[in-house]
Amino acid sequence: MQEPLDKLKRVQRTEAPPFLFTRIEAQLEYVKETKLTPKFAFAVCSVLLLVLSVNFYIINNTTKEQHSQNISYSETSLSPEYNSLY
């Protein structure tokens, strides 16, 4: 029984289209002009992410402090009333 993959011997090699190099050159030129290399884009995103994380941390901590200050204030304001009961 013939090997089914033997039929692939009929697949021929083809030439890459001649216009491909022009396209590649154009793309390389574009990257050079915009300087938007993948490394640069990654660096910018990393910095943005770091700034956002720091902001989130600060806001979160500030909110917790305010909340605990509010509780302390409530406790202080209530205490004279408690004292008056005794």
Binding site: P4, L5, L8, V11, Q12, T14
Partner: protein, 172 residues
């Protein structure tokens, strides 16, 4: 060797290998462009610890597999879009018709079916079969390209062929 010389020496190797993965001339052109852009960016880092052609094969294989994964995600997105938008044409424009320029019209259907079976194999088996049966690389060359052992490649080829035979027997 300057970039243009390198391109001229390896363009057909890259293009034909990409074709074996995607079986579509336009997609293979896109992959070939991506490969040579990467090569241009990484050429300075190439440590010559492998042959240049081996290195080019690796970049092409990775670029082809990445292209196919991205296409699969696009199809999934298009399917979801088509559910929510009645008039969406996202699914209707499938650019991945079988359009392999190395296949004669008379044999197109027969060869297309075999490629369909190869496409269903796990990535490593698929790569081993493509490099062996379509690129006519020796087992040792395939082991160098895939950075694995001779025995692993033999096993991958054997398992790939076995799966294809079983599927063909099932279909018949």
């Amino acid at each position: 060797m300057d970039f243009k010389e390198l391109y001229n020496e390896h363009k057909n190797q890259v293009y034909n290998l990409a074709l074996q993965y995607v079986q579509n001339a336009e997609d293979a052109q896109e992959i070939t462009q991506d490969v040579f852009i990467k090569v241009h960016q990484k050429l300075a880092d190439f440590r010559h610890d492998a042959k240049l052609s081996t290195w080019m094969y690796r970049i092409t294989i990775n670029a082809s597999l990445d292209f196919l994964k991205a296409k699969k995600s696009q199809k999934r997105f298009a399917f979801i879009t088509s559910i929510f938008q009645k008039e969406s044409t996202a699914l209707k424009h499938d650019h991945s018709d079988f359009n392999h320029p190395g296949v004669d019209m008379e044999q197109k259907e027969e060869i297309r079916k075999i490629f369909e079976l190869i496409n269903q194999l796990p990535e490593n088996q698929r790569t081993a079969i493509i490099l062996s049966k379509l690129e006519h690389r020796t087992v040792q060359e395939i082991a160098d390209i895939m950075e694995t052992s001779y025995k692993s490649v033999e096993s991958l080829i054997f398992r790939g062929k076995d799966k294809i035979k079983k599927q063909l027997a099932k279909d018949n």
